[in-house]
Subunit: 219 residues, 4 copies
Amino acid sequence: MVAKTLQASDGRTARANEKRRLRRAHIMRTALNLFGDKGFHRTSVSDIISTAGVARGTFYLYFESKESIFLELLGELFGHLRDNVVGVDTRPNKPPIVDQLRETVRRIVRTLYDNRELTKVILRAGASSDPQVREALQRFEGDIEHYISKALELGIRVGLVRELDSAMVSSGILGAFKQMAGRHILDPGSAVDPAVLTEQILSYTARGVVADHLLGAFT
Amino acid sequence: MVAKTLQASDGRTARANEKRRLRRAHIMRTALNLFGDKGFHRTSVSDIISTAGVARGTFYLYFESKESIFLELLGELFGHLRDNVVGVDTRPNKPPIVDQLRETVRRIVRTLYDNRELTKVILRAGASSDPQVREALQRFEGDIEHYISKALELGIRVGLVRELDSAMVSSGILGAFKQMAGRHILDPGSAVDPAVLTEQILSYTARGVVADHLLGAFT
Amino acid sequence: MVAKTLQASDGRTARANEKRRLRRAHIMRTALNLFGDKGFHRTSVSDIISTAGVARGTFYLYFESKESIFLELLGELFGHLRDNVVGVDTRPNKPPIVDQLRETVRRIVRTLYDNRELTKVILRAGASSDPQVREALQRFEGDIEHYISKALELGIRVGLVRELDSAMVSSGILGAFKQMAGRHILDPGSAVDPAVLTEQILSYTARGVVADHLLGAFT
Amino acid sequence: MVAKTLQASDGRTARANEKRRLRRAHIMRTALNLFGDKGFHRTSVSDIISTAGVARGTFYLYFESKESIFLELLGELFGHLRDNVVGVDTRPNKPPIVDQLRETVRRIVRTLYDNRELTKVILRAGASSDPQVREALQRFEGDIEHYISKALELGIRVGLVRELDSAMVSSGILGAFKQMAGRHILDPGSAVDPAVLTEQILSYTARGVVADHLLGAFT
DNA sequence: CATGAATGAGTTTTCATTCAT
DNA sequence: AATGAATGAAAACTCATTCAT
């Protein structure tokens, strides 16, 4: 009987936990959509709860504040991205470097595609008034630039990358990525093939825009 | 007497107009500084008027709203930039193309340097709450991308630029520029030499990051 | 079988009742401590249940509201006090009147000492928002003043107390007691000897502050 | 003409200032009445503005917060009281000491009478949740007790006051005063003659309650 | 009996904009 | 033209209480 009681209790708890999880996810998804449509700042908690169909208190039952929900979304995207970035392996019997890079870029583009709304929110949240949010975004971008920068420096050492100012160029790479993604993934008007986007990002970042016969001019 | 009155009136009007012009410019400059320091959203009309030393009503005498002052600043920067962009001239007895491009980039960087505060405001206003502001920013960027795109297409036709998706790559170029400027012009911590910045933007945009012996791999 | 069932049921009921009683007391004691630390208003039901380790609903199973728990605490202290107040017995072969009074005051001070937390809560709840609570406190104090007043009137009749306005002076006595207790029993900083406090209350109440040779001046 | 303009300007400013002053006073009086009726905590800013007939923003134009209006009221009463307390002068050709004390007590009672509502608010605000308010009240009472304490010690040195624990007894005196005032000035039911109240406070504080022939028992 | 998720009325405060003087 | 007092919609957040499980 004890066992039965425990089982029942567990069953109830499990069901309740599942409901909680679903509700939390529902509120989060609602917030995500609204943030994407109107921006983080223009979306009020009132908007979120009326759209999600929950009471005011319920929102604060699941999230500490409006900022915290954004921060959590940010962490989610960051996690997705980190999972999809793989360093280049230069050992002999590995795939060509270009293919490895292409694969990483492809996966990142894919991730942004799969998380269009999330990406939109984060790309558009640049000028949030909340200091915590701003700081989190700064760190997010800073981390990415730092990562790219380290990769460039390694590339330079092993002769894959030409001599360049890694700090500046890593900013450029991130910026190009952000803008291309913002325009060509998120803009509802232009449905671009991810493969094309990948290729364009890769080639622009790798070899720039100049025709081959002019390359000598840029030293 | 009518003439005299008119003359006197004209003199008075002229003086009054000059005063108006100065006052307007003073409020605008004050707003610019505050937007630069605290961001558009965090700057209140109260901040502007108390710093500028004018009455609340006076602000609305010169500007329709807080947004309108921002919109005007945006137009100002756009004008400055347009004045400094010069198309490449490919005729025989002109300076080498690379030098021409370098000169244009140099002048844009210079303009952003000279209008640091203005640039900061606009780069950081990405996610403004106001739809009008957002739309204006979108159009601003759209215009620039369109301009770059046209230039790229011309370049492709005359064989200066390799085959590429001009719409996408122009996004990339603008994005790289924005991010590099944001990090390395506006960040008060890193005082980068404009010449270095110019060179890095130019070389990254033109020839990417790859070492020469690998260029063949990116077709 | 009916008897047996009833018997079993009784045993179960008794055990359950005991558990209920304990749980109720536990919640009450927890609330008391929190009220004492942070004040009635600053203590939330959430504080109480999380400290007591019971569920939210359980709280309302045992108490009607946050106010009701306070009201009950109030009644408790009142009961303690009533149990310790003993009227003065003026019959010939009884202890001297002063000693009798001293004994009562001593017991009251003792009771407040022993119920420091409870006393603190009630003394500090003076301006509670809840009308019911306010009314209860008013009645509590009114009862005490009435009791003192009756005692004074008796004293006047038997010649132990000088002619005075018993309603007013009883207010004064209660007020002096409250303030002295608040400052010198409850303030964690000043650990005053109960005996000293008793003596000071007694002498101040009985003979005021004036030096003997001046007493004639106060008629 | 300059003079005239200035005059007009002054006239306008003066009139505007007067209106401001009146409006401020109106809001303050409204708040005072509401605080007196329902207590500080139970009175919301919404109550104040709807009763005063001003807009929400207007309240915050004149007062920083709900607390600040209370703090200002507190300072007001404190100022009134301080103005009416006069030290005893023991030099030969001055009025009898008892008369001097009576005069001070009379003036304090009078002040409380004249500021019934204000007194009520402050006496009932004991348990405010706001830490700033609580601290201000604590300091208010602390200052008064300290003042009484110093007066008692002086009295002991010059032989006017018997040996006693000045810290404790000053608490008692303040407490007696508070309670008597609370019951017999503020209670709308009991309209007590201020002169009677003065006399009772004075005699209770000075000579206590005991009949003369028993005084010897309290040493 | 016990639980704890859900509720929503209520709180204080901000700030862009208007308009009588 | 200039002023600045007044406005009120809107925001984020709290918490005592209820009720389905």
